[in-house]
Symmetry: C2
Subunit: 159 residues, 2 copies
């Protein structure tokens, strides 16, 4: 549904645009719920990301990072509006000029602070995803990589 | 392929992990190619993102933004290694502690500078995707949103 009516995929995508299948690697556990406003989220700022057991082999070095990029599925997205008042500043924009969850590609991206790794569970601060949200990927953030490098350089060649 | 051998999906994902289908919204045009090293990219730092014509209805306000987050498909990804020397600093890590394109969820995220919008084409700086890469989503970056707000506050109530 877009702007209150059904829109055929052929009106949006060319025939040769190949679709991609992605699978969640885990899910979010926290006390957040969608709030009363259109874009608000209630709850604390600490979340757990519980990765599926098979993901353990891809986690090497994760515990040394402090800043991660989390990709997650907007699994509770609603119909798309092509113009709306953006949550951040109420400016009237389209989905591409916003962070709305109500968009063609239902993927959220959030930079979080990694507090702790316990087995395949990550404890993070600042993830703006609801409880139960499927997590699609974890990357080290560019800010985190730059910080690692600065710390290494400060500690000198023997550090 | 993971670490040189086939790995069944059931070893990675639980049966009830629902897959998601996403579709590209456009593609990249630039002169970048994969470079001679494992993670290097050659070419200039200006790219065009050509959105499909049907995307025009979601672009309202995009021309006012300077900093965007681009989600794109790692369409040339190679077999996954669970541990490797990270491109940024050669530290040995797994995919989740890196930005490698060789990962379970083949989605790249890059913050770019928006230089110009011409119809459904965006001219951007700093997109580290090859020519022909499918683009999956465009969002305003958090840094861009904060900058917009600061500028508005500086320009005062009549600005």
């Amino acid at each position: 549904m877009i702007d209150g009516g059904p829109v055929p995929l052929t009106a949006l995508y060319p025939d040769d645009a190949k679709s991609i299948v992605i699978r969640p690697i885990g899910y979010v556990v926290n006390d957040k719920k969608r709030g009363p406003s259109a874009f608000g989220i209630t709850g604390g700022d600490i979340s757990e990301i519980r990765l599926y057991p098979g993901m353990v082999r891809f986690m090497r070095g994760l515990e040394d990072e402090t800043s991660l990029l989390i990709l997650w599925h907007f699994h509770k997205a609603r119909p798309i509006r092509s113009v709306f008042a953006r949550g951040f500043d109420r400016k009237r924009v389209g989905p591409f000029a916003s962070r709305t969850s109500d968009r063609l590609t239902p993927i959220g991206v959030t930079e979080v602070e990694l507090l702790e790794v316990r087995g395949t569970t990550l404890v993070v601060r600042n993830l703006d995803a609801f409880d139960g949200t499927p997590v699609l990927d974890i990357k080290v953030s560019m800010a985190g990589l730059k910080r690692s490098r600065e710390q290494r350089e400060q500690s000198g060649p023997l550090g």
